[in-house]
């Protein structure tokens, strides 16, 4: 069947234009457009007076990005110059903006800080951002309060969106969803809960309550939507297991604290008993539920902290600190925290779009398989196997709902005038686990009729940055204010799109089982190998975590 190309509404592939190997993780699963800049983290802006520190830290999350100017517009100009793997729709990250305006200090924003942050957000919107993302478990977003977030949300227009990795997805999940609704109500802007979930065994089942809260909010006129990925495990930086106070002052201060005497006892106490306002991921997942995914030196990957503790003949807290210190914080984890009925309930909600939340390309290691398999998994597991969604509805969530929610005019539909972003797949065989598979999850994929993966050899314009949303978008426009009320929008109309910067000519991957078209180095086979290793490790860990 032919569908509009899938839209990954929660990507961290901001650096995809900059890495040497094209990021094939997304195109292999049928994605033609990525919304990047999620979780409060974008590549810019930065404080020019702190550029050295900014670019010293940047590669631990976004490898491959060269030294570029401080404005959000500078990042987009450089990305435009290099060209895109998929169509690119950027959000500006609140954490990045906050660090640029007031460093990574653990304090509430003062009036002057808010003025500076509002100016930076306005500048990013002007440059082409689709909205503002927040990551309220991560420093420095974790140090913000609701008033600060409302003040920033009001910079947005009707056409933009405020997204949030909310303050708590476990014990505080209900209050955290309520905070996002409050931000929507007070700012009058559209708000969006990223990767909606209920984490930690004590909180399993709470999605019933959180979905009721957002439904009631919609009923009272607040535009709230959400996205999710269909896995029991989450994934993030390993340093997110540390209490918020450890992050005061940024990475150098954090490393200093991890070297201080008494740190192990302090962490053991904090993780055992929790601290107010802090998302205690280690407690939610348990030490045998935290799998090291990627590290700078790759030594610790593929083992849980419980296993590493045995290897190091110590306890998991010391193992955690040793990994963070030895890798200088450049480490990510996969954490098993969710329950299947919550996943199915959230997926069944008609306002849920789909996002991979895949970590940035170029980190290597054994990343969470959501990076490679989110969209095929929805189609294979939740449409074909369990029937949680009808196929046509699943496709709507991956295409037109995503486009309408994020203001991606002219995308997400097969209709005259819409971008020719198309994916062909077999609903009877589509599956997420590439390990040992003879077939790709999807048959072919084109963006703007430019062949990304197999399929028609004809070449049209290449993937590009999606034009920023306009309050009154011409032609094939989505309907931002009404996405949560109306499921059907009128047929798209033709609109003009300017030509993009040229990329090196496409070549085909040399592997007989992979006809991925790539620019520059042929990375598709490498990526498939990584995926196979990653899925295998994840599968083992998931069985143990059950």
């Amino acid at each position: 069947m032919l569908s509009p190309g899938f839209i990954d509404v929660h990507s961290h592939g901001d650096n995809a234009p900059f890495v040497a190997d094209d990021d094939t993780a997304k195109i292999l699963q049928g994605i033609t457009t990525e919304v990047v800049g999620n979780c409060g983290i974008s590549i810019g802006p930065h404080d020019p007076s702190a550029a050295d520190a900014f670019f010293a830290q940047l590669p631990s999350f976004f490898p491959g990005v060269p030294r570029i100017g401080p404005r959000f517009a500078d990042v987009l100009a450089e990305a435009d110059r290099r060209g895109y793997v998929t169509n690119y729709a950027p959000l500006v990250g609140h954490g990045t903006v906050r660090a640029a305006a007031m460093s990574e200090a653990a304090r509430p924003a003062g009036a002057g800080d808010v003025v500076r942050m509002r100016a930076l957000v306005a500048e990013a919107l002007e440059a082409g951002a689709f909205g503002l993302s927040t990551g309220l478990i991560y420093p420095p977003g974790v140090f913000s309060d609701t008033d600060e977030l409302v003040a920033l949300a009001t910079v947005l227009g009707d056409e933009h969106i405020f997204t949030s990795h909310i303050r708590g997805e476990s014990d505080n999940v209900v209050a955290s969803v309520e905070e996002i609704v409050e931000i929507g109500r007070r700012s009058g802007r559209r708000v969006h809960v990223s990767q909606h979930k209920a984490a930690g065994t004590a909180n399993w089942g709470k999605s019933e309550q959180t979905l009721r809260i957002v439904a009631q909010a919609r009923g009272s006129g607040v535009a709230v939507t959400q996205d999710m990925y269909p896995y029991r495990a989450g994934s993030t930086n390993l340093s997110a297991t540390l209490p918020a106070r450890y992050h005061d002052g940024g990475a150098p201060a954090l490393l200093e604290r991890l070297r201080a005497p008494g740190v192990l006892d302090d962490l053991r106490r904090a993780i055992a008993h929790g601290e107010p306002g802090w998302e205690n991921l280690a407690k939610n997942a348990g030490w045998d539920g935290i799998l090291i995914a990627t590290t700078r030196d790759h030594r610790f990957e593929g083992r849980t902290l419980a296993e590493l503790a045995v290897e190091m003949a110590t306890d998991p807290v010391e193992a955690l600190v040793r990994v963070l210190l030895e890798e200088e914080l450049a480490a990510s984890m996969v954490a098993f925290m969710m329950d299947e009925p919550d996943i199915e309930r959230i997926l069944a909600d008609p306002h849920t779009s789909i996002g991979t939340d895949g970590l940035p390309p170029g980190l290597g290691g054994k990343p969470h398989p959501r990076t490679f398999g989110t969209f095929p998994r929805v189609l294979g597991e939740y449409v074909r196997a369990s029937g949680v969604l009808a196929l046509s509805e699943a496709i709507r969530r991956m295409t037109s709902l995503a486009a309408d929610t994020f203001g991606l005019a002219g995308r997400g539909r097969i209709a005259a005038g819409c971008a020719a972003d198309l994916v062909l797949f077999d609903a009877q065989t589509v599956a997420d686990n590439l390990a040992g598979a003879k077939k790709r999850p999807v048959e072919w994929l084109v963006a703007h009729s430019f062949g990304l993966l197999g399929g028609p050899t004809a070449v049209g314009p290449q993937p590009r940055r999606v034009p920023a949303p306009k309050a009154k978008a011409p032609g094939c426009a989505s309907k931002p204010r009404s996405t949560w009320k109306r499921r059907h929008t009128p047929t798209c109309f033709r609109r003009s799109i300017s030509p993009t910067a040229s990329r090196p000519p496409a070549t085909s991957c040399s592997s007989p089982t992979c006809r991925t078209r790539v620019h520059g180095a042929a990375s598709a086979t490498t990526k498939r190998d990584v995926c196979a290793r990653s899925c295998f490790t994840y599968g083992q860990a998931e069985r143990r975590a059950r």
């Binding site: 069947m1 032919l2 569908s3 509009p4 196929l391 046509s392 509805e393 496709i395 709507r396 295409t399 037109s400 486009a403 002219g410 997400g412 539909r413 097969i414 209709a415 005259a416 005038g417 819409c418 971008a419 020719a420 198309l422 062909l424 048959e443 084109v446 703007h448 009729s449 430019f450 028609p456 004809a458 070449v459 049209g460 314009p461 499921r487 059907h488 929008t489 798209c492 033709r494 799109i497």
Partner: protein, 47 residues
């Protein structure tokens, strides 16, 4: 790609709006979908 080229014939097309699929030919021009027409029997493209 030339203007108005047939990118796929006789495909089972889900338009993204959540409705039932239709069997159609999809034509593309300049990176945009030019038209979606009911499948003509002359084509026997992939489905």
């Amino acid at each position: 790609m030339r203007s108005d080229s047939l990118v796929i014939a006789g495909a089972l097309v889900y338009d993204g709006e959540g409705g039932l699929p239709t069997v159609a030919d999809v034509y593309v021009a300049d990176g945009l979908i030019e038209r979606v027409a009911p499948a003509s029997d002359a084509h026997s493209g992939p489905r």
